[in-house]
């Protein structure tokens, strides 16, 4: 049997897990991320001072993961938006895979934000949830990304579904700036300690912990996006190989 026509798509050569140089870069990134998270956790609990009770006291330490997770959600949303827009402009499997990975990771980081925020709010505000503008817009954005993930999971992998999900991905990301400026535009309970004029972190250790948190979450987002993009790409290529093999009668 002649396998020559399948070689360009052969799973064993094109879909294998991360290998060679990419393998080293991936695991290097993984090691760096793990080390920075270990340092960050130690620093948060051993070095950063407690905030005033109105900010939640000990619960304010949620801040050092909560805010970087929100930033990572923006980052993944941006990846989803750019990849979706590029897919709508010129469809490729790689762009679709990156858009899908961006939406997946945005949901995970969004869930971290929406899970940790209410626990902090319970101490700082006395309630788990309030329909504050920033909370509400964050919830809406995460729900848009959830809809993209659900659409791709249950509506098939056809061209129309991909394009609809891409359009939804662009729409979801358009709401992200609204979250950011919601507090400025509409007020609300949500604190605004990070500002262009330096912010309200009144101790150098607090600023340091937050900056390390941003670096750690950026690396984590990059790792997750990388892994999920490769996975989505492999799934798309396998589907094409199956179609090709069925069309040529190699499998039935």
């Amino acid at each position: 049997m002649d396998h020559a026509d399948l070689q360009p798509y052969c799973p064993s050569t094109r879909f294998s897990p991360v290998t060679g140089t990419r393998d080293k870069v991936f695991y290097g990134l993984f090691a760096a991320t793990a080390a920075i998270f270990a340092y960050l956790i130690g620093y948060i609990f051993l070095v950063t001072p407690l905030a005033q009770i109105q900010a939640g006291g000990l619960a304010q330490k949620i801040f050092y993961f909560h805010v970087p997770a929100a930033y990572a959600m923006y980052l993944c949303g941006a990846v989803c938006c750019v990849s979706s827009a590029l897919y709508l402009y010129s469809p490729t499997d790689a762009r679709d895979a990156a858009a899908r990975a961006g939406a997946d990771c945005a949901v995970v980081f969004g869930a971290m934000v929406l899970g940790s925020g209410p626990l902090w709010a319970k101490k700082a505000w006395g309630v788990y949830w309030t329909w504050d503008p920033r909370l509400t817009t964050t919830l809406l954005s995460v729900l848009v990304f959830v809809s993209v993930v659900m659409l791709r999971a249950f509506a098939g992998n056809g061209e129309a579904e991909r394009k609809f999900a891409s359009a939804l991905g662009v729409l979801g990301t358009v709401t992200l700036p609204i979250i950011h400026y919601a507090v400025v535009m509409w007020g609300g309970n949500h604190p605004t300690v990070i500002t262009k004029t330096g912010g309200g972190l009144r101790h150098p250790a607090m600023t340091h912990a937050l900056l390390v948190g941003f670096v750690a979450m950026t690396l984590l987002a990059a790792l997750l996006l990388w892994a999920r993009t490769r996975l989505a790409l492999a799934q798309s290529r396998i589907a094409r190989v199956e179609e090709h093999a069925i069309a040529t009668g190699q499998i039935d």
Partner: protein, 83 residues
């Protein structure tokens, strides 16, 4: 059927009755431990991350299984391959 409204004006008349009745009060103090909320938040965030990584790992395993099935079917010459 509506839930009965508590009588918020009631007070504990006898200290001995404190363990046998619940009397609603106005503006009770916040008693949730900040430490427990902090631990819950960190557990939730790490739990979400590990769940996501686990699900990704499972999906990766399914992809690899599918690749192996395809390779086997193609090498076998078709007809008995995966449907």
């Amino acid at each position: 059927m509506t839930q009965a409204q508590p009588d918020t004006t009631a007070t504990v008349s006898d200290p001995g009755s404190r363990s046998t009745e619940f009397v609603p009060v106005q503006g009770g103090g916040e008693t949730t431990s900040a430490a427990s909320l902090l631990i819950a938040a960190y557990m939730l965030m790490w739990g979400l991350l590990f769940a996501f990584v686990f699900l990704s790992w499972r999906r990766q395993a399914r992809v690899e299984t599918r690749i192996a099935e395809l390779e086997k079917a193609i090498a076998g010459g078709g007809g008995s391959g995966p449907q």
